[in-house]
């Protein structure tokens, strides 16, 4: 039986293999998140590495508030890594430096544009999950790493945008 994210994070306090399992579960989604924002393959990988380095360092702070899913927490960290990078105009690397992970220099400089419509990032995906996959808001929230309320807002925004598109 597959362990929940919460169980993996609890085990990861003393077990790097559990941390690796969580990484394997989420790395592609976190990478996709960063790639959507920065549109640079190297920068997206660096931000993904930083996100998981932070996850390791603050793993003891995780509180299971979503039925065992760590997605909202993980995407919250990813979002924060992105925000700090843009604010500092340099890809965030402090957690990796603290862990002694090699940081590859990337020529791209974080831009304010990376943060445009940050809260609407998952709107098309939210609509797809609701309309095509017919998921409930709780499930959409788990998929997108957000709360059911925020998932509902994203679906609503997406549908409104589609409606507006059609009536043009």
């Amino acid at each position: 039986m597959q362990r929940s994210d919460a169980a993996l994070l609890a085990a990861a306090r003393n077990d790097p293999a559990a941390f690796r399992e969580l990484y394997d579960r989420y790395a592609e989604r976190i990478l996709a998140y960063h790639r959507r924002r920065c549109r640079d393959e190297d920068a997206a990988h660096e931000l993904t590495a930083e996100t998981f380095a932070q996850v390791w360092l603050v793993r003891a702070r995780f509180r299971d508030e979503c039925d065992g899913s760590a997605a909202p927490w993980l995407f919250g960290i990813a979002r924060n890594v992105l925000l700090v990078s843009v604010r500092r105009r340099a890809l965030e690397a402090r957690a990796r430096e603290r862990l002694g992970v090699q940081v590859t220099p990337v020529s791209v400089s974080p831009q304010e544009a990376w943060l445009e419509n940050l809260d609407d990032d998952d709107v098309p995906e939210a609509v797809k999950l609701r309309v095509v996959d017919e998921l409930g808001y709780d499930e959409i929230a788990r998929e997108l790493g957000t709360t059911p309320g925020a998932a509902r807002v994203r679906v609503h925004r997406g549908l409104a945008a589609l409606r507006k598109e059609r009536t043009r």
Partner: protein, 156 residues
Amino acid sequence: MTDRLIALGDDLERAARKDLRRHSRRRRRVLGGAAALAVLLPGGALASSLLSSEDVARSMPAGTKFLVGSTPECDVVKENVEYRCTINGHFESEIDGSLKGTVEPTVDKTKHVNGGCRSLTDDGREWSCYVGEEAVRQQIVGAGFLGEYAPSPGVG
């Protein structure tokens, strides 16, 4: 998953193992020191030292970097076990968003972890703090972390 992501995961896992080993070595040194101290001190001297609410208040910024410069004030809930602390003064957490439920270790004046606190509010101004084994029971610090040497306030 791409080869690049797998390699990245390998790097992170390796670093996590090293990090854990570093902490284990430090913990063993501290426990060894504590055991030696217990032999040298008269029986019960370690266990019976009472903490004042001021001691607990001082332990908060000593354990957590983002609280350095803040001025916590603590009231006794249960002497030497539980304290309710309010943080005055400016502080800025490295955590984005709500601090409610966040846990932080506390560190005594000999720079050893002596307990931990849990934030009761989103803004991180109200905390419940627990001393010694009670902090372990409250799942704020691990049993192995209690008593660990912590020379500087922690981040993350």
